[in-house]
Symmetry: C2
Subunit: 201 residues, 2 copies
């Protein structure tokens, strides 16, 4: 990416990343086109390519920008806190991410679904380390009898899958629920209930 120097460069760089997020999240890498991204960003295609050298560069910039945000909620689990409340707070934070950043969720979903070749190479190590670290915390809580004994890694998977479902499969959720529902409101209550029952000893 071009290092932004002027106000107009700053604005255009942002517009491209924003438009790219929109289009890549809906179509996946191969399905997305620079034409569409340029239109959404309000630029010509050559102008877009003045800021980023290639389609791949746009995609990589967007992916890496979102990574931290995506893993932060897991990092925030506090080994010194109350186990059940820590887990329920994690579920809430993840559900809020799905509600407030559904495009980011779908971007990752597309990426993983399509093999994650661009993503996993870079984060496989750190991701596994973080999960292992937190799984050890959960295991400790289980050994102390403070939460129910379950496979800790699959417990983390279950939180990812249940919360991200509402962003990734949004159109299906809304189609099945019908009108007059607030999916995230209902999901919040449902998941709180589900994990409280599941985790309590």
């Amino acid at each position: 990416m071009l290092k932004p120097k002027t106000r107009i460069q700053e604005r255009n760089s942002r517009a491209i990343l924003e438009a790219g997020l929109e289009v890549f999240a809906q179509q996946g890498y191969r399905g997305a086109t620079l034409d569409e991204i340029a239109v959404v960003a309000g630029l010509s295609k050559p102008n877009l390519l003045y800021y980023f050298p290639s389609k791949d560069a746009v995609y990589a910039a967007i992916l890496s920008r979102q990574l931290e945000t995506w893993l932060d909620p897991l990092r925030m689990i506090d080994p010194a806190g109350d186990p059940v409340e820590e887990m329920l707070a994690y579920v809430r934070r993840k559900l809020e991410l799905s509600r407030d950043y559904p495009r980011e969720s779908r971007l990752f979903a597309n990426e993983v679904l399509q093999g994650a070749s661009r993503l996993l190479a870079g984060i496989e190590g750190p991701l596994k380390s973080l999960v292992d670290e937190k799984a050890a915390v959960l295991q400790g809580w289980m050994d102390e009898g403070r939460i129910a004994k379950l496979h800790p890694v699959h417990l983390i998977f279950s939180i990812w899958s249940l919360t991200q479902h509402y962003a990734d499969f949004d159109v299906q959720v809304r189609a099945v629920l019908g009108t007059g529902h607030d999916p995230y409101d209902e999901a919040g209550a449902f998941l709180d209930h589900l994990f409280r029952r599941t985790l309590s000893v």
Copy 2:
């Protein structure tokens, strides 16, 4: 699609549907190319287009072929059975689908993720009807105090999300678990435990 008459037509039609499933499931509709499908099917591109008039026709044929299989496990829930065991059996059937037909799962995931425009138009009604019907059965069980009181539709969503996660995000699951794990084996035990705790009164 061409109505198969000869043995060679039968074989080629199958090969195209099989190859299309493979490629569409990994790339989504727009990301998939006829070139790739033809190569996987072992045919030339024009020959592929002799059997199906267009890319869209191949895709539509594959989608509709898989729909029944995908909804059958939900249909099989028996209102006259034991509530908790019926639900756990449903979870098992869905997990087996993910294990045995991961490409079909990813095909639907891509489709829904990318807006489901080709799918929902055709099945929105039937899908919602089926879910509503089974949600009423669950609600009845809850009213009778035979399973825990939870939002029945979100309960169904939770089963979809937890089971399909293992097919759709397979590469992430395996990357995080590391080697020496059988994801579906562990997931079976985990989900059985989770839903037994969640549903028991």
